[in-house]
């Protein structure tokens, strides 16, 4: 299986337990449901065409995926014609080696980075450091998680798990060249400190690495979307610009990408449009006063072609807006790190098993109430609950689920396939619970249900099953 750095997805349950009792994390997470969810709703309400745009976005992605080989060929030809270099990588290892080779041939010592989820996926920072090259994240959120040696906990807001006080403490710990008694009480002063420190890095970096929100086949262009402007400084100032992309980022035309941009910012940050949407095509031109001399695009597979040919193709429509996690009750309770790898929330519950293997991430597709909010808000209408269900089926087929779950399911299946027996068994069970319930109206402990009763009481039954009550209701009509 593919190598995956920092993988703690196998320990999802332990992670969740820890997260639920982490007071700082809980206070940091509180803002998501009250803030971004309401703001997204308000922004979407201002655009009557939003749902039509979602349909169009889905159709564009489906069309592109069905012709992916041809659009990649077109992208490659156009990018090369503009003086760019296109590299392909089957695995994370190959992508890392290509980045290192480009950095070495540029004699790079300092690399600035724009936010890139592919960069996280291939753990490029660790690898560069091991090879004597210093990577500096320049997106403020990514910078914060880098100085804490953490993974981002959200694909759009990497440091959403941190409180202001934690950030202040980290700045005092890491920026030791600054006066220890300086005032860092305000959000503004923290931002200014990071701006000054990173400004210096931007100007002295040898190579800039960014991700790509999209690649345009028509023009051989890569696109990044940011609010800070960090990605733009990362790709404009150094001598070499490396774009980390994956095969499903390509879209056909400038018009197609405009449809996707209209749903991206609104879904991601509740903005009508992100501040900076930058289209990059090749290196600096003759006579250009700025821009990099070399432009490389690395296109990664890392498990995606397998998704293309199977049940998870629809996941490749994902444009990484993060709306699914913003609207997920499980994410809001446990935060992104609990998911134990680069991609958290509902999209991670589908994507992570595809990349690191279901045997390493079996709890993720189960960490859902199937409430369906993720699918409701997805700008490209990915049926996330359904895809999680596919993973649950595979997990069962491959005997990865624990024995208790399997035997419980087997008993239930045995009964469910025999309706009369089911009715009798359930009546007895409910009657039994009801009789005991006359003594104790609420159960504080039940055998086989400690996962429930540990956190809340189980109400006593009403002596009759739902089916029995339903039958009687129909008769009396």
């Amino acid at each position: 299986m593919a190598f995956a750095a920092h993988l703690t997805a196998p320990a999802f349950k332990a992670n969740a337990k820890e997260a639920l009792t982490d007071a700082q994390l809980q206070s940091a997470l509180h803002g998501i449901e009250t803030g971004i969810v309401d703001r997204r709703r308000a922004t979407v309400a201002k655009l009557p065409e939003f749902d039509a745009l979602r349909d169009c976005a889905r159709a564009i992605k489906n069309h592109t995926l069905a012709h992916l080989d041809l659009y990649l060929e077109q992208f490659e030809a156009k990018c090369r014609a503009a003086g760019g270099h296109v590299h392909y990588a089957v695995t994370a290892e190959e992508a890392r080696a290509q980045v290192l080779e480009i950095c070495r041939s540029a004699n790079a010592r300092l690399v600035t980075k724009g936010k890139s989820m592919i960069g996280e996926e291939i753990a490029i920072n660790d690898f560069l450091e091991q090879n004597g090259i210093t990577p500096v994240e320049t997106d403020l959120g990514e910078y914060l998680v880098q100085i804490r040696h953490e993974l981002p906990s959200h694909i759009i807001m990497p440091a959403v798990h941190l409180t202001k006080e934690q950030i202040e403490a980290d700045f005092r710990r890491v920026h030791t060249h600054l006066a220890p008694e300086r005032n860092l009480a305000e959000h503004q002063t923290l931002l200014t400190e990071a701006r000054v420190i990173l400004r210096d890095r931007f100007l002295s970096a040898d190579v800039g690495i960014t991700g790509a929100n999209f690649l345009i086949a028509e023009t051989g262009t890569s696109i990044i979307v940011t609010n800070e402007g960090n990605g733009d400084l990362t790709q404009t100032l150094p001598r070499v610009h490396i774009v980390l992309a994956s095969i499903e980022k390509v879209v056909p035309t400038l018009e197609d990408v405009s449809q996707l941009l209209r749903v991206l910012a609104r879904s991601a940050t509740a903005q009508e449009m992100s501040v900076y949407t930058t289209f990059s095509t090749g290196p600096r031109r003759a006579g250009d006063p700025d821009g990099p001399n070399e432009y490389h695009v690395i296109i990664l597979d890392n498990g995606r072609t397998a998704m293309l040919g199977g049940q998870f193709r629809e996941m490749l429509r994902c444009i990484r807006c993060g709306a699914c996690m913003n609207h997920c009750p499980v994410y809001a309770a446990v935060g992104g790190h609990t998911y134990g790898w680069v991609y958290p929330g509902p999209m991670g519950a589908v994507l992570t098993p595809s990349i690191v293997g279901i045997e390493n991430a079996r709890d993720l597709p189960n960490a859902s109430t199937f409430c369906g909010r993720c699918e409701e808000v997805c700008p490209v209408r990915i049926p996330l609950p359904n895809l999680m269900r596919h993973w649950r089926e595979r997990e069962f087929e491959r005997h990865l689920s624990p024995a208790t779950v399997r035997s419980g399911l087997a008993i239930w299946a045995y009964l469910a396939k025999r309706p009369q027996l089911y009715a009798v068994a359930m009546s007895l069970f409910v009657l039994g619970l009801g009789l005991i319930g006359k003594l104790f109206p609420r159960f504080r402990w039940l055998p086989l249900a400690t996962g429930w009763t540990r956190y809340r009481d189980f109400p006593a039954s009403q002596l009759q099953t739902f089916q029995a009550q339903w039958k009687r209701r129909v008769r009396t009509q």
């Binding site: 655009l47 009557p48 065409e49 069309h63 012709h67 080989d69 041809l70 077109q74 014609a81 503009a82 392909y88 089957v90 190959e94 403020l140 959120g141 807001m157 202001k164 950030i167 959000h187 931002l191 701006r195 990173l198 400004r199 931007f202 100007l203 086949a217 028509e218 023009t219 262009t221 609010n227 800070e228 402007g229 960090n230 733009d232 404009t236 056909p252 400038l254 018009e255 197609d256 405009s258 941009l261 903005q271 449009m273 501040v275 900076y276 949407t277 930058t278 289209f279 095509t281 031109r285 006579g287 250009d288 006063p289 700025d290 821009g291 597979d301 072609t305 397998a306 293309l308 040919g309």
Partner: protein
Amino acid sequence: MTTSARETVFASIRRALGVTGAEATRRAAVAERLREHPRGVIPARGQLPAAERVKLFVRMVEAANGSAEILKSSDEVPAAIAALLRRHNLPMQVRRGDDPRLAALPWDKERQLEVTTGASDGRQLVSVSHAFGGVAETGTLVMTSGTDNPTTLNFLPDTHVVVLRAKDVAGDYETVWARVRDAFGTDALPRSINLITGPSRSADIAQILILGAHGPRRLHVLVVDEADG
């Protein structure tokens, strides 16, 4: 190594799709989409007569925390810039690119204003660029890179002043792409096309929005609305 990775990726994609890559119908579908580049859903919001479109553009720039004013003549640009600098207590120095439309402005009318040309090295506080176009739908500026308008001027200075002709304000992005194709073709887009909507910002510190993260803290647009353009 790269060649073989390329072959592996393409072979995997084609296996997954059950195709060879040579199918004429697929190739025709792709060629047609690239040739026709169909417009999808265009929001009605920006589809307005010229004067109202410019007003919407200004409103949307302001909604994105930028500022904008409409000038009757490009001759008024230097004075408007000088007034902006005075208003914010900024030094009377700006850096601009070689854009002939900027070079032709009557800078000498503002004796105190020092104007230099070229890219930014990070030491300039105020830059002046000329936009390729604007999009009323979201108050977005479209900047193209080159000698005329260096990309660094869009990002390094604290205050970014952008001059935009009112007739270049479109209702939607798609209209600007048509102009881009006319001006540059699709074989050689400018190295950078920057769509800019308001000044730089970050909400990465405890989800509180603050302006001026790495790029400009202030974005001011001068829309020049002259009868003859």
